[in-house]
Subunit: 371 residues, 2 copies
């Protein structure tokens, strides 16, 4: 089995983070700009002396101006905490910002900026035992390709013979297997929760949630037939065959964000003998092609935990998909947790918080809930 | 049974809270100042035209200056998020700020200011079903006095005949039974967690953790003999006799902050047949008068959950008391959760976060932990 250990972004804990102008933690190594200001505005600087125009697209395009040093500069309005993709446009050409690391989102490589939240530091690196994130290749006969997934192995995995439960953690539309580690800091979140004693040590598998199988036509982006086959027939057997896993349903969970949340619900509802723990962040059940009557109180006995979440600043339509599904579950008498991330939109802060809330509940004795 | 319903502070959810200068949520009704600025500095204004000097003591005394309108004014440095007590000194006389509500802390009535954290809004009032907080009197033969406690009854308590588990939640030295509601927003935290499905609906009893019994000498502030007798012989029987409670140990928890954390550990360790859930925030076990060998792995079977916490910005000595106890538990093989609240000191933000983390774990099937 080929193993590569990937070096993940290091984010040192700094509670003073937003008290002075700071280079963003998402900057490329050694790059000073963009900087995050105390009021959460961002100052961009772009060195393009011969350019006629430079603008930044960060949820809306804004023009930079040449400053006294001849460097293009812009300070934005305050920006919501969290991770935001952005791009530069120089003389009409869309490009990334050399000051920023590159992240895969919206289907392409993009610049990104992290506006830190003054909140618990739950996703920042602390001085605790660290798990490792491996880039893992596996062969897929179904798709005829070599596929790649990221695998988080908790601290201590390499010592002893302990077997671990597994969380399959899916990304959103236009992202890939790198997202949960690079944008989501999932390894810091898991390291911190496990060290604290709140979360059971677990393996987390982050696959690329896109698959094409010859002969299987996808009816829509919500038709997960092909990817479901890869997960059930190839990914799970590969993981259980090559890592020290607990292989019963009570030790296997699936959760995802946005489209990955819809994938998680579809795959788990179709394979209840394989998954006992289920989560959807900013996307869950009742996608196009499913009907409300699919969700009945048989879910109470079939699942140990059902967790759904959304950000309170998501678009009305995004918010409604999760809120409406919450209402469906309430009306059907299905016990579940509905976590609302205050003040965050359809972005990684909502999903980091959701993982932070879900992970401590996984793989523990089924818990009676208040609904 | 005498019942009074107390109106608790209303804190409307505002995610924009720190993006513009805002009157503090702890101000007296209708008062504009003090105001919290976007960088978390505070602007104080005091109208004292004939005063010769005005200063504010907010973790260190700073002088106000008369502004162009003849009003005394000061803008501080940025202040850590959370709740902070403060006082004014006018011409040498220590007083409270008419702009602020009055809070009981440090053994006296004091002004207070809340610097909001941009974090989940878990302690802010949301549009969810609200429990009520009652001011409850009860007679104490042991102390010969009428005592007062605050009791949180979850939404729905007044309908139906459901019985509820009980959390006894203790305040710190120099505070009283009002603290968890006025400074701690415990009612908002519980309302939100219960509505979300994360916490089991429960009754929370907040007593005044000070008692004097004729003939019982207190050896030190860590000698809780008298208060323990009141809790065991009078408070618990009163609560179970007058509210719809589940009265077995698996449905009774005790937790507290600072000195109340030491009280919780002392009382629970001495009365294991009464409490199965135990928590200490910024104060827990191994206080003066106890020895490390008191804590052994019998605690694993005697308690369903042991939760301790501290703030990473507490004084070295405060931090050490909890960290050292954590090490004692680890060395003794006692399973527990050790939550560290990043960037907060020995104040209410640490304790609100601790309640937010502990409450969802209470009164559920005992959970295997990672230690």
């Amino acid at each position: 089995m080929k193993k590569i250990t990937v070096t993940v972004m290091t984010v040192m804990l700094s509670t003073a983070m937003s008290m002075a102008q700071q280079s963003a933690i998402t900057n490329a190594p050694g790059k000073e700009y963009p900087k995050v200001n105390p009021d959460r505005s961002v100052t961009f600087r772009v060195d393009a002396p011969s350019a006629k125009s430079v603008s930044v697209d960060l949820g809306g395009r804004q023009a930079l101006q040449k400053n006294s040093e001849g460097v293009w500069e812009l300070t934005t309005k305050p920006i919501d905490p969290g991770f935001h993709y952005y791009s530069l446009t120089i003389d009409g050409a869309r490009t990334t910002d050399p000051g920023s690391q590159v992240f895969f989102g919206s289907g392409h490589e993009s610049s990104g900026i992290e506006i830190p939240e003054e909140c618990m530091g739950y996703y920042l690196e602390r001085d605790v035992p660290h798990g490792e994130v491996r880039i893992q290749k596996y062969e897929s006969k179904l798709t005829g390709e070599t596929r790649e997934c990221y695998i988080y192995l908790p601290a201590g995995y390499n010592e002893g013979n302990r077997k671990y439960p597994v969380l399959y953690l899916l990304h959103g539309a236009g992202e890939d297997q790198t997202g949960w580690t690079k944008q989501g800091f999932m390894n810091n979140i898991m390291d911190n929760l496990i060290d604290e004693g709140s979360a059971v040590p677990m393996i987390v598998v982050m696959d690329h949630g896109v698959a094409t199988i010859p002969g299987i036509q996808s009816a829509s982006m919500f038709d997960f037939t092909a990817y479901e086959k890869v997960v059930i027939e190839e990914l799970i057997p590969f993981i259980d065959g090559n890592f020290r896993t607990l292989t019963d349903r009570n030790h296997r969970a699936i959760a995802g964000l946005s489209l990955g949340g819809f994938q998680s619900f579809t795959i788990a509802m179709n394979n209840r003998s394989l998954f006992a723990w289920l989560g959807g962040f900013s996307g869950s059940g009742k996608g196009p092609g499913t009907t409300a009557d699919l969700y009945d109180d048989s879910m109470n006995s079939d699942f140990n935990l059902i967790f759904i979440s959304t950000g309170t600043k998501e678009s009305a339509q995004m918010y409604a998909t999760v809120k409406n599904f919450h209402d469906i579950l309430v009306n059907a008498g299905v016990k579940h947790i509905f976590f609302q991330s205050t003040g965050t939109g359809h972005e990684w802060l909502t999903w980091r918080r959701s993982l932070y809330r879900l992970a401590p509940m996984l793989f523990k004795t089924p818990m009676p809930q208040s609904r």
